[in-house]
């Protein structure tokens, strides 16, 4: 009797806490979205509803170009980083302690270094190799700072995995590749997904490193936004952010519904 009361209380607390946290996370987003419809250029008061910022958004050639580069670099760098990072995590997990610690510390460097140090030092490296700064160099830079996040997400899952599971699978007749695909990957997949999510997030919002490793007309949204620092941020950006946010939400709903249908089919 007491136990069920406790569990009800517990679940009430859990729900309240969850709601609080997500309110906290989304409050600024709501503010952002609201101001994308505000007639005033400045986030001061409500000046009336308008869609002008959305119209201006699509007329702005620089923004659309920046948006394209942002997404393509984010997607490509996430893909590459996830693959390389997952394999790297597996390799690191199986390294001897000394070597492991060394690689892990090197892996930490892009995280702990201020962006300006990573950005400037990579820029100098690229220039030294006479590379023209642009899409490729920006992509390389993004992959470089994304991989550590993937590794850090996959490693804990590898550590959690029963040690001899690979051997067990092979003892039961699986080839190493089959065992890898059907045993290891499913075990660590939450880590891979988390790593990819974080990598994508870091890539989409990066300014300093991108600024110093790109050039020749290739820009991204963060550079676009930060370069407005002297002038003030135009609500066109709010409009774009709102559209991005809504698209992802819709995508989520669609994927969710489709998966729901699939599981129903199985039943």
């Amino acid at each position: 009797m007491v136990n069920s009361f406790r569990s009800i209380l517990g679940s009430v607390f859990k729900n309240i806490y969850t709601v609080l946290i997500f309110t906290f996370l989304y409050l600024p987003i709501v503010v952002l979205i609201v101001y994308s419809f505000n007639a005033s250029k400045y986030a001061v008061g409500w000046d009336g509803f308008t869609l002008e910022w959305y119209v201006k958004l699509f007329q702005d050639r620089a923004i659309m170009k920046a948006f394209y580069y942002t997404i393509s670099v984010a997607v490509l760098s996430t893909l590459i980083a996830t693959v390389v990072g997952t394999f790297a995590a597996i390799g690191i997990h199986n390294m001897k302690p000394l070597r492991k610690q060394l690689i892990l510390n090197i892996n930490n460097l892009p995280l702990l270094n201020p962006d300006i140090v990573t950005g400037v030092s990579m820029m100098v490296l690229f220039v030294f190799f006479k590379a023209q700064l642009g899409f490729i160099t920006m992509l390389i830079a993004h992959v470089t700072f994304n991989i550590p996040y993937v590794i850090l997400s996959v490693l804990p899952k590898l550590r959690q995995m029963p040690k001899d599971i690979l051997e067990a699978a092979m003892d039961l007749g699986a080839t190493p590749w089959y065992a890898f695909r059907k045993v290891i990957i499913p075990e660590i997949s939450p880590g891979i997904v988390t790593g990819a999510l974080i990598a994508f997030t870091m890539s989409i919002d990066d300014f300093v490193i991108s600024f110093f490793t790109t050039g020749n007309g290739v820009s991204n949204l963060s550079i676009y936004v930060y370069s407005m620092a002297r002038r003030g941020i135009n609500p066109k950006i709010n409009a774009l952010s709102t559209l991005m946010f809504v698209s992802v939400l819709i995508l989520l709903l669609v994927v969710n519904k489709r998966q729901g249908k699939e599981s129903k089919k199985i039943l």
Binding site: P28, P97, Q101, L112, D205
Partner: protein, 277 residues
């Protein structure tokens, strides 16, 4: 074979794109253009300048702030990771995505939105006065800075912890219950220790970038303080003294790696791997 060579591509990649730039930074930290001859010369001036009380104070302040933010993220984030891990698997994935989705909106925009919320005539105070409560003056205080930092780093603490918690063998928990353990003990003796790898990753992903963070304090703190991240950026850009900027960065690197190394001693790894540090 997979185990042996799996890491090699990354070793190569990191060798070129992490180690080489690192060597560049170390090089700059020991080299300065002589004002007299205009030639490059070996110099410890950068390191010497850093050892002045002014910069040490700034450094200490940055580390302290990062620690506070990390601890807060852990305290606030662990419960939510636990809650999500205990949801239905399908819901879990959605929650994880919803957790990180705000971070896809531009960082400056989000921070400016917080300023709008926290300012004197901002959203928060408007709500408070509607409810008849006294208004607060949060903007440009240390509290606002911590709030901003937690806001920015929370998902990176929650996600690694959640991924580990989600796959803790339920059988273990049942077994413990059968052996007479109550919920609290299960939490303390089984769940918490097993989640340590995730916690370590979370702390890594929060503490390290937090030490060099400076935009949030500049905006939400009203630029009233200076952090080591500011100093480094100023040295690289405004002052163009790469010698000093790089020296600070090298010290920062060593300090953080050392402190992470010390922290790893609390890591419950049954292999008892030897730490380099």
């Amino acid at each position: 074979m997979l185990k042996k060579y799996s890491g090699h591509p990354y070793v190569l990649w990191s060798g070129i794109f992490i180690v080489l730039p690192l060597l560049l930074v170390i090089y700059y930290s020991f080299v300065k253009t002589s004002p007299a001859t205009g030639e490059l010369m070996f110099s410890l001036e950068g390191y010497r300048t850093f050892l002045q009380p002014l910069y040490l104070k700034v450094f200490a302040k940055s580390v302290l702030l990062a620690l506070e933010a990390t601890i807060l993220c852990l305290i606030i984030g662990y419960p939510i990771a636990y809650i999500i891990a205990n949801m239905k698997p399908k819901t879990q994935k959605i929650m994880a995505l919803l957790l990180i989705l705000p971070m896809w909106m531009n960082f400056l925009l989000r921070t400016y939105a917080w300023m709008t919320i926290l300012q004197k005539n901002g959203f928060l105070n408007k709500m408070l006065s509607l409810l008849g409560l006294p208004t607060v003056n949060l903007l440009f205080t240390d509290g606002a800075v911590l709030l901003g930092m937690v806001y920015n780093f929370l998902p990176f603490m929650v996600l690694p912890i959640y991924t580990v918690l989600s796959k803790i063998d339920k059988g273990l928990i049942e077994a413990a219950g059968d052996l007479g353990a109550d919920h609290k003990m299960v939490l303390r003796k089984i769940i918490l220790p097993l989640s340590i790898p995730g916690v370590m990753s979370g702390i890594t992903m929060v503490f390290m970038p937090a030490v060099s963070t400076f935009v949030i304090p500049a905006l939400l703190g009203g630029g009233r303080s200076v952090l080591i991240g500011n100093v480094i950026e100023q040295q690289y850009l405004s002052v163009y003294n790469w010698n000093f900027g790089s020296a600070i960065s090298v010290v920062l690197m060593i300090f953080i790696l050392l402190s992470m190394g010390i922290m790893k001693r609390y890591d419950t790894d049954t292999e008892g791997e030897m730490n380099l540090w």
